[in-house]
Amino acid sequence: MSRISGAIHEMQTIEESASRDQWVNRLHPLVKFLVTLFYLVCVVSCGRYDLPRVLGLALYPFVLFELTDLPLGQALCRLRLVLPLVCIVGIFNPLLDRRPGAELLGFTLTLGLLSMLTLMAKGILTVLASYLLVATTPVEGLCAAMRMVHIPRMIVVEFLLIWRYLSLFMNEVQKTTEAYRLRAPGQKGIAMKYWGSLMGSMLLRSIDRAGEVYEAMCLRGFTGDFPSGRFPGAGRRDLVYLAGFGAGILFLRLFPVLVLIGSIVAR
């Protein structure tokens, strides 16, 4: 599967997950947005060697994945884009910092290894948490949440328009590159001679499209501002979720739960 069709497929599956009729999906988007943000802050604020605490915070995605039945594999797949940079940054830690950090079953874990593992764990957990947000919240909900935290309407409208036209352009790009490949077998990409004309003509088409979109908006009373519909306020269930998950995450962040359990067992 090519990169573009992969992306189209990914968009589709996320959208399908987000539009499922489940209690997590029905929660108020702002509540989920805030819980996710809080979780991310808690994870990345853990110390660089504090692997146990970070692992303890894995409980949150675990619970949500269990509650929502979302595919963990698909979520882990999303790591491929950010993992390379995380790896570049982390991979040298074990080599550069070889001071002993801990002993486990006769093996010495160096501080460098610990900090690398902590970084990897943080990387995985943050990606999972973001996935859980978008896979349970439709894009309209995300936009409503963004509006509620006062992100300018213009940016939210841009975001909506990009989402709307993305699959259209990705399909167009795919068709164009396929048509190119069929007539230029064996080439990995687009040859230099056609760089300008291939993308340029697509660019012109999309500018024309943008012009027509604008005309369509004007014909329906658009004068520069986007009207937004109503959005229901948060209910009791939402507040319970916010309080419950917020407190749970905070607890895991404040107390190294795994250390406590481990030391009790060791005793």
């Binding site: 539009s19 309209e140 709307r164 699959s167 027509e212 369509a216 908006m217 329906r220």
Partner: protein
């Protein structure tokens, strides 16, 4: 005699310095008319429709929609009365889901949310797409997009419906569906098409645009059987008529 809805007098238009794409054309359209505008590529069909809703300026002559002259300061009022369905539904449907798109017009006109909701449901019912409101637009099929784009116009309760190439890229079932829905819209409608069978099925009057002027203005029966004139303007007899 029925009320005159659109009156075009001596209308001329050109893009830049080029030759005139429309040259002193005049016609009137009445309340219950179903007018098909036909002509070869580049004959000025789409241009004419865009002029009627005030999307192009710099024309000569006059256009009046329900007695209101089409000019910059009247655009808002004109566009409340006249709905325009684009050829490419993707350009008309810019919202993420069906409901928001159909509600875009009514909301822009400042209607209360209850009225917006009522209009959206009614418009979707008229194109037989009840229950589509939560669907993401980019997941609709081509035929569904076309119907939703009509609903976005119907929700503004226009007196006049303009459609540019409505049957383009529709499969036979969607095409039949569209013909039925157009039949149910009992106000003035003007559509452009190369699809003469579609014109035959939906229109009570035909305008032929040729070399900047109106070559024919009359009933479909005469012109759609006139092979010679059709050939002259670069069109062919409708299939349904050749088979007979």
């Amino acid at each position: 005699m029925s009320h005159i809805h659109i009156e075009v007098k001596d209308l001329s238009f050109s893009y830049g310095q080029d030759r005139k794409i429309l040259d002193r054309i005049s016609f009137t359209a009445r309340e219950k008319d179903a007018i098909g505008i036909i002509g070869a590529n580049g004959a000025g069909k789409s241009t004419l429709l865009k002029l009627l809703v005030g999307l192009l300026d710099g024309f000569e002559g006059s256009i009046r929609v329900e007695e209101i002259p089409v000019e910059k300061r009247t655009l808002q009022r004109v566009r409340e009365k006249i709905g325009y369905v684009f050829q490419d539904a993707d350009n008309q449907l810019f919202s993420v889901n069906v409901y928001d798109d159909v509600a875009f017009g009514p909301r822009n006109y400042g209607l209360p949310e209850e009225e917006v909701d009522r209009r959206v449901r009614k418009a979707l019912a008229r194109v037989h797409l009840e229950g589509f409101d939560e669907k993401p637009v980019h997941r609709l099929s081509g035929g569904e997009k076309k119907l939703v784009s009509i609903a976005t116009i119907l929700s503004m309760t226009p007196d006049i419906l303009l459609m540019d190439e409505p049957s383009a890229a529709l499969d036979p079932r969607n095409r039949r569906n569209l013909i039925r829905i157009l039949g149910e819209f009992d106000h003035l409608k003007i559509l452009t098409s190369h699809d003469l069978d579609f014109i035959w099925d939906t229109c009570s009057r035909v305008l032929v645009l040729h070399q900047g002027g109106i070559l024919y203005d009359g009933d479909p029966d005469t012109i759609l059987r006139d092979e010679k004139t059709l050939a002259m303007v670069g069109l062919e007899l409708p299939l349904s008529l050749t088979v007979r």
